[in-house]
Amino acid sequence: MGVGIQVENLNAWYGSTHTLHDINLHIPANHATALIGPSGCGKSTFVRCLNRMHETNPIARATGVIKMGDLDIYKDASPVEIRRRVGMVFQRPNPFPTMSIYDNVASGLKLNGFRNRRILDETVERSLKQAALWEEVKDDLKKKSGASLSGGQQQRMCIARALAVDPEVLLMDEPASALDPVSTSKIEDLIFQLKSQYTIVIVTHNMQQAARVAENTGFFLNGKMVEFDSTHKIFTNPSDKRTEDYITGRFG
């Protein structure tokens, strides 16, 4: 099951550049939460703080508290443990090109030391079914490489790979921006189904997508969280003039 995320006074820097300023918000469990804002506003940095990817850059640092349930992710667990519990899907599908579909999906489990063939088989099947890809690839699991799939299939395979290690949170950084409308709607349907089991945070430039998939939406601008509210409120009658100007295209 998904877990809620509490963010308190989060600040982040790249070198001397202060990229996130005092972010406070609660991301509810088993909901999809969308983050919107212009390029460079800090939303990707924010999600990278949620799975401790931010600190992989040697000049980057962050302060503040992020709790997943009761777990303080910067104090109570290792980055490796956090990244297992917080899966991530990126803008462009990133399959391991030389691996089969099966090995792509199983890679996280294998890295975590799972060797039992039956468990691996079951997990690969379950994950591909959850990612709505099973029917399309079940006959070629070990024959075809992950890179031989279409872009939309690759992205669903990457989602299956993230799900295989049984995370509680799924971060999606523009997961459909490189996909055609049909593949995009498959990803959106998937988000809709997955949120009953996972907490989903999706960064998107496509505001209609945010409106379609997320219950809550946060608007970032210049490293600050300007407004966080129900998606309905944000897209029909936002409280802050800056949010309204952004979503109606009056700046940017």
Binding site: M207, Q208, A211, F235, T236, N237, P238, T243, E244, I247, T248, G249, R250, F251, G252
Partner: protein, 220 residues
């Protein structure tokens, strides 16, 4: 900046105001026809209806295109929804003008007698509601729109008073039934004009504030 889109919203507003101008003129003319019993003015009202109907379709099409092509959000989305609704209400006001003109034409067959109902006063009140609601739309002024809502009770009261006065007259002087019934229907038409003005004002409030105040609901 979405320059083209925002220019299209301005064009939509301008077109709705052209429609509003035609509808206001139709209602003024129908009342002028009642006052003077001039059947040529009735004809002018009847002839304006196809143009109003054509504009209604054009405005709906423009709004539909913007919804489909631009996926508007927030205040822009509320604006387009309001325009669609106001468009329908204006067209109905135009229909009321036609209904009044038809009644006046019928009344022309009978003697022009003094009836116990002040149609011009009722007309000036309901027209003022329409004008004020449209002014609120032009200026995006939700306070002005709210003031329109308060005027509706007065129009309703005048319509009720007309009903009682004219039904008494019919009882007392049955020979005046045709004139009385026509005047009664005209009063009812004008009361409907006030209702449409109320709807327009509510749509302005929805557009500007994002609050749904229809059916006496509390603003969000």
């Amino acid at each position: 900046m979405r320059v083209k889109f925002h220019q299209s919203l301005d064009d939509l507003k301008e077109k709705l105001l052209v429609m509003a101008g035609m509808v206001e003129q139709a209602i003024q003319r129908s009342i002028e026809a009642y006052r003077t019993r001039d059947l040529s003015i009735c004809e002018l009202v009847l002839r304006s209806e196809p143009s109003i109907n054509r504009l209604e379709r054009e405005i709906d099409q423009m709004a539909l295109d913007l919804l489909a092509m631009e996926q508007p959000m927030a205040i822009d989305l509320r604006f387009i929804l309001s325009v669609i609704r106001i468009n329908a209400d204006l067209e109905r006001v135009g229909d009321q003008a036609v209904n009044i003109a038809v009644r006046v034409r019928e009344m022309g067959a009978f003697a022009n007698i003094d009836l116990p109902v002040d149609i011009p006063k009722l007309a000036s009140l309901s027209s003022a509601m329409v004008r004020k609601a449209l002014q609120a739309f032009i200026e995006a002024d939700a306070d002005l729109a709210s003031s329109v809502l308060k005027m509706d009770d007065q129009v309703d009261e005048m319509n009720d008073a007309a009903f009682y006065a004219l039904s008494s007259l019919i009882k007392e002087r049955p020979e005046l039934t045709p004139q009385s019934l026509n005047a009664l229907i005209i009063a009812r038409n004008l009361e409907r004009v006030g209702d449409h003005a109320t709807n327009i004002a509510e749509d302005v409030i929805f557009w500007v504030r994002g609050a749904d105040v229809r059916h006496h609901t509390t603003p969000a």
